[in-house]
Subunit: 225 residues, 2 copies
């Protein structure tokens, strides 16, 4: 999918490359990025409630007065961070289906996602967001939105695979999806990779689990008994 970037129709078309966006707006965006980065760091370290605005200001090397020109409240900051993280996860997972075989595409995208999640130390933030979503309406809505989008994606993927005869026609997709998602969320929550378990073993188990509930008809690449 491609969401077109802003295009303003002007009277004259400048030949030379000129900054379409004002230098002012650029600086503003840079500051927002800076604040979000600082907030991310602090939230990972101390949690949404535990991190104070002063902490975030210190991390961003910025005074409260300055920060509040960009975000009207701590809530807004929390929501922005939560949304960014959830969307990032969704984007990572959206690559499922790209692979030599059905299961491979799925497993590869999942493994890549978990490795990225672990490498960037996102485990604590994920847990924090889910805890916050239990009682913060906006964060809950954000989680539900990305989750719903993921379910739709997953559903379309599995339906297509079923229609193509790649998976067991009687597989209960509507039960499989939440279970696979639970597995994924559990892996993010407990940071399985961070526990020192060999990624190859994880992949092997993940594959066995996936195949057991999907039972693809396409012959597995190797492992002939």
């Amino acid at each position: 999918m491609d969401f077109g970037s802003e295009h303003t129709s002007g009277h004259t078309q400048p030949v030379a490359a000129q900054p379409e966006k004002g230098v002012r707006a650029e600086k503003r965006e840079a500051q927002i990025t800076r604040i979000l980065g600082a907030a991310h760091t602090c939230f990972v370290q101390s949690g949404f409630r535990g991190a104070s605005m002063h902490d975030i200001c210190r991390e961003a090397e910025m005074s409260p007065g300055a920060l509040y020109r960009y975000f009207p409240s701590k809530e807004a900051l929390i929501e922005a961070i939560a949304e960014r993280d959830r969307i990032n996860d969704l984007r990572n997972m959206a690559r499922m289906g790209e692979g030599p075989t059905l299961i491979d595409g799925f497993i590869n995208s999942v493994m890549a996602h978990f490795k990225d999640h672990h490498a960037r130390g996102m485990g604590p933030l994920f847990t924090e967001i889910r805890a916050e979503s239990m009682r913060n309406e906006t964060v809950a809505a954000c989680c539900q939105k990305t989750e719903g989008e993921f379910i739709r994606l997953f559903h379309a993927f599995l339906s297509q695979a079923k229609a193509d005869g790649h998976i067991d026609p009687v597989a209960e997709i509507d039960a499989i999806i939440p279970m696979m998602m639970a597995l994924g969320e559990g892996m993010m929550l407990s940071d399985v990779i961070g526990k020192g378990v060999d990624p190859a073993s994880i992949e092997k188990i993940l594959r066995a689990m996936s195949e057991s509930i999907l039972r693809p008809k396409i012959a597995p690449p190797a492992k002939a008994g």
Copy 2:
């Protein structure tokens, strides 16, 4: 099969009580129970950080001065609640191994646990505890302790099953355990049962997953003994 599960009380207990048992000690215990109940309610509702001591006092119908005679700080209250919850989960799961067959015993205990977890609305608290454990040393230690105990239990269970020839001799137990635990934690986190998925379907998928990684041979009716 029986794996002795023993629990030694942690160091995050309320103000030390006298070893002797009397009317006084009983009343004291009743008050502690009352406070823990109120704290549980408030923590589920607003989270550890979100719930204030005044909230808990109101819920327990007790003044701050009274409450502080039983718990020296909010931290102690959080830790007590976290420990209680974790130990309860551990106890629930310790029933694995009680069943007609290996997989049945496992699945039954897991399903019973999730149903109980859902029915008592413990999902938010579980998430909260895990989030807190990311940065609270004491809660982290508590989680690690019960988790370690569970791993030991699980490991003994699987090792015995493997030695008895009930599961694939090449099954990678040390990778299977964290993966199965991730699945379980994910199910608690996302409250699969609460999503309206048919428990029978959940059980079916859980069974398929378990069998796929354990590959049990046909379970013998009973062991000669």
